[in-house]
Structure formats: structure tokens, C-alpha cells
Amino acid sequence: MPTTLAEKVYEAHVVRRTAGEPDLLYIDLHLVHEVTSPQAFDGLRAAGRTVRRPDLTMATEDHNVPTLDILAPIADPVSRAQVEALRKNAAEFGIRLAPMGDRDQGIVHVIGPQLGLTQPGMTIVCGDSHTSTHGAFGALAFGIGTSEVEHVLATQTLPQYKPKQMAVTVDGELPPGVSAKDVILAVIAEIGTGGGQGHVIEYRGSAIEALSMEARMTICNMSIEAGAKAGLIAPDQVTFDYLQGRTHAPTGADWDAAVEYWRTLRTDEDAVFDREVHIDAATLTPYVTWGTNPGQGLPIDAAVPDPASFADEGDRRAAEQALAYMGLTPGTPLREIEVDTVFLGSCTNGRIEDLRVAAELLRGKRIDADTRMLVVPGSVAVKAQAEAEGLDKVFLDAGAEWRGAGCSMCLGMNPDQLKPGERSASTSNRNFQGRQGKGGRTHLVSPSVAAATALTGHLTAPADLQESVTV
């Protein structure tokens, strides 16, 4: 029977299949961070269990870490206790940890690919919903809860039901200034935050194949924002080139064997998807969100919608609640929305290419005097690379802040937060109420829209800047 890429990876990991029970799925890589793991390790201890495969497990500190003075002890005692709990657990159970200050430290979804631990055809889990990021390599990667973290630690497996299959095909060429972030925001606006529920999404089509690995990660990252269990992209030469030479990538004869297998990881031509969505890349423009869920997004040329324009009562009510929280009036052009803060970072857009795109727009310019811009590299390695290229200087000269690596203002578990009523343009993935700080208001944007917005102080597309220069 013809099968999809996701089905192939899934089937290759079934340890046990019995009628009337979920399949038992083997997990090739388990990534761990400090927030969703302490109760899981406690559970192991209480039951006298060990970690079955510490060699397939890797931990990092990312959610709580400050981005200033990273070598000083964490000032917040509760954050500090959580990070210390991870250090203790990693030592006790023999798990490799990249602590603050380590050259491998960073956001869990940035370091896996960067180290070459994320490879095609693998099953990867983490107590974190954005684990879908790793699907960019053709891996089946998904977020799990703390009870499941404990289950994987103890058994290296998970009981699973085979997910449904969805194809999102993006054909054509993206217009200049339109990025992977705009593609995924457009997809979510199209299918809604529950549109992918129960499905794995395979992104395909010429526009996807033309993307770099980092851009593919941006797309897969936000699969969860469409409600999907995971998102993936078939591995190709771009994938192999990215992986070759990375610390944990195979070498020599192993590399050849691996690539031979990876080349088989493609959806069969006549495989059937449960749902298909088509998007024409040429019609896309920069997207921004106006509401409090990632499906509430529009092209930047649009205006804040009128709740009355929604046919569905639930959508109407959601729009009313969102506009009240966001402090927005229907009919206001999105470009006129003024922001206080621009956040460039996160597992969605905190990689080197994202920083390069933003730095290019800022080079030799100053950001708006009333706007602050926080640039937070996704990992220590991204930070080092950016500094080697002189990007830190570009950001600093433009008046932005250059910080240490971590999740930072994506969720404000560290001191990087919005104040009540403050508004941000953020390259992260969630515009939920209070996500970036109590009462904070978030507009999700791409790195280039973030940089353009920092220059003007209101939501701005990169193309707008060129127009104002030529006029």
C-alpha cells in the first residue's frame, strides 16, 4: 500500500502492535528541558526506576535562563531551583546536560539540529509542543506532557495511535520580502488553530523545496499552532548538506548508509492524505497577527477586522475578546499599529539566517527612538556565529539590545517580559494573552517585518522601507 512519509517513519518505529491497544513506538531521541521534567524525574525516583537510554537523551537549560549576566546565579529563586533540579537530575540519571554558559546550550529545538542530533527518519520527542520543529529534517517529532516524559525516560517508548495525514502544498515562488514565517502564518490563518488536530502535516511543493533548512524549521515549528501533532518535510539534498559534518552526524561508510536510507523517506506518489490544502506562494505577503491566537492573522495590507464580519458566533465572540484585550479598533490599518518592543528570537526565528535578515535591514540605521528591540540568539552557537559575522555590532549600532541565548521573551519565564498594556512585534510563535508578560499584547511577525517595525515604530513590511527611500 502506498504510504506517506510520516507513515513510513511511524511504521519503522513500531515496537509492538496488538489489536485493541495503542502501538508502542520507539523513540530515537528524547530532548529534555527544565520546565516539564522535574516531576517526571520525581516519578522515576518514587518508583525506583532508572533512565533506560541516557545515551538517547539530552537536556538543556532554556526557558528560565536570563539573557543578561548569564554566568551569575539566577536571581529569581524559583527559576534557580528549577534549573538546579535539572542539574541534579541529569547528574543522578547520567544524562548529558548543556547548562548555561556551555557552548552547546540553547533553546532545545535549536540545539538538536545544530548538533546534528536531529536526523531524517527519526522519532524525536520533548516535553515541549514545538518539538515539531525537528520535522523539518523528515523526522517524526512531537511534543509530549510530563507523564509521557517519565514514560520515555523509563522505557524509551510511547504508546501511540497512528495520526491522520494532512498535506499542505505550497507551490510557486515566494515574492521578495515574504518568508517562511509568513507562509506558516498564512497556513494557520487558513486552516485555523484546530485545523490540524489529530493530523501530521507534510509540507510539500516547490516553494517548500526551495527553502533552506532553517526556513523549513520555522514552518514545521508552528505546526502545533495549527493544532497538528507534528509537521514534517521530506529530506533532500538541502537536508543532507546541512547535516554533513555536524558533531553527531554519521561519517564515512555510516554516512553513505544513512543517506541511502534517507533517500527512501518520501511520500509515495499515490499515497492518500486525509486532508489536503493548497497554497499559491505567489499570492502571499507578509503576515501579522491582530488577535490573541495564531490563527487570527492577516496580510499586513489589511485592517483590524470587525468582529461582526465573522459568520460563526464562536469566532465573533473570540474576535471581540481579542480586540478588547489587544486594545484595537476595527478598521485600523495594521500598518498603523504602534509597538513598544520588538523581540527577535525564539525557536521559531532565533537562528543565524533570521538574525542575518534582520541585521541586513538595520545595517547603518537607527531604530525608532520610542521602540526597544531585543535580539536573543537561539543558542550559544548562534550567538557566536553572529558575533563572528559582526551582526552583534550591527544590532548594537542600530540601538537594539544584544542578549544571551534562551527562550527569553517568547514566554517571559525569565526577566524579559512585556509590562501590562505594552505591545510587541515578536518573531515568536504565540500571541496568547499574557504570554510575553502579564497584560502584554503580542503581534506575531517575521524577522524582516520585526526589523522594519523596529525602524519605524509601527508594523511595517520590509518593502515599505524601500518605498520611503525612493520617494
Binding site: T36, R49, H63, H248, R317
Partner: protein
């Protein structure tokens, strides 16, 4: 985890769609390393800022069943959202659509998530708004929700239902299949990555 067979209590109508787990419990409460005591963070922003938020209304303060709009539990995978609902006195959540990870987490911690068609949710909202003392029964054995003279059937896979009815721990069940796991491991390609440091 505690077994779930049947539960009767009053219900709170949460007329909101897309209730994400950041709303159920914000990130600042996730710094704790315990598994209980999250009730203070449950819906804390809405409880603090919205005087007429449903759980601020005395007639719903003791509700043990939450009836929510579609796409409940979206966003972050934090199982703390399930723990906070349990700590806040809820035994069941009813919605027409749950986010996958939230639903999965709920089954691991003994919170019953019941999927009903949206029109059945609307009818239940109307009933508990008309009379907040309405006794609602969620019966996992019979796979039905009942109140007044209404009975609505719901679907749940047999395996999850059995685990919940028995209050069984997944890890213990999987450990019975250790030989299968060992056999699978023996066949894994040697080039697959290991996380140990490479010098």
C-alpha cells in the same frame, strides 16, 4: 493516578473558544517542581481581571465539571494545565474539540475529557446557565453525559477508557513488554546518533 468511573457535580459554562494552556495556567506557575498545588494559577488572569468571569460567580465556584468552547487546551504541552484543573476541583472537561496534547495529558492524570457535538455543548451551557445547581453526571462506564432528562452518548477508545476506569499507570503496562523493546533495539542501525559528548 485516581481511577475515574462516574462523576456527578455541577458544571461551569466557559463560553470561550481556543482556551490555550497559557490561560489555564500561565508560565510563571510552571517554575515549581512539584506535581500538586497549582490551583492558585488556574485561570488566574481571568479570575483577577474579569469580575464576571464564570469561576468568579458564586453559583459556579464549586463546579467540578467545566463545559468549554471548541479547541480547549491548545498551545503549550504543559501538563500543569491538567494538574491545575484537578487541583481546582475539576474532574471532567466537556468540549466539542480538544487540542491533542492536552487531551493526552488528561488521560495520564485522571481528568476526563469528554467530546460532545457543539449543539450538545450549547444545550448544556443553556441548562447550567438557567439553573446552576443542575446536577450533571459524566459516566465513563456507560460513556454518557446526563442532566435533567437529557442523556448524550460520547465516544472514547476502549483502551484509554479501561486505563481510566482502572486508574492504571502506563509505565507499568509498558514494562510488561520489555522483551519487545529489547528486540527492537537490537535491530536499530548503528549510525543513529547518541547524545553523549563527542570530543
Amino acid at each position: 493516578m485516581d481511577a475515574f468511573t462516574t462523576h456527578t457535580g455541577t458544571a461551569a459554562p466557559l463560553r470561550r473558544t481556543n482556551v490555550d494552556t497559557d490561560q489555564i495556567i500561565p508560565a510563571e506557575y510552571l517554575k515549581r517542581i512539584t506535581r500538586t498545588g497549582f490551583e492558585d494559577g488556574l485561570f488566574v488572569a481571568w479570575r483577577t481581571n474579569e469580575p464576571d468571569f464564570v469561576l468568579n460567580q458564586p453559583q459556579y465556584a464549586d463546579a467540578s465539571i467545566l463545559v468549554a468552547g471548541p479547541d480547549f487546551g491548545t498551545g503549550s504541552s504543559r501538563e500543569h494545565a491538567v494538574w491545575a484543573l484537578l487541583d481546582g476541583g475539576f474532574r471532567a472537561v466537556i468540549s466539542s474539540r480538544f487540542a491533542d496534547i492536552f487531551r493526552n495529558n488528561s488521560t495520564k492524570a485522571g481528568l476526563l475529557t469528554v467530546v460532545l457535538p457543539q449543539d450538545a455543548v450549547e444545550a448544556l451551557w443553556a441548562a447550567v446557565e438557567a439553573d446552576p445547581t443542575t446536577q450533571v453526571t459524566v459516566d465513563l462506564e456507560a460513556k454518557q453525559v446526563g442532566y435533567d432528562d437529557v442523556t448524550v452518548a460520547f465516544d472514547i477508545d476502549d483502551y484509554t477508557r479501561w486505563r481510566l476506569l482502572e486508574g492504571l499507570d502506563d509505565v507499568g503496562l509498558t514494562e510488561r513488554n520489555l522483551p519487545d523493546i529489547e528486540a527492537f533495539e537490537a535491530g536499530r542501525p548503528s549510525w543513529l546518533p547518541h547524545a553523549q559528548p563527542v570530543s
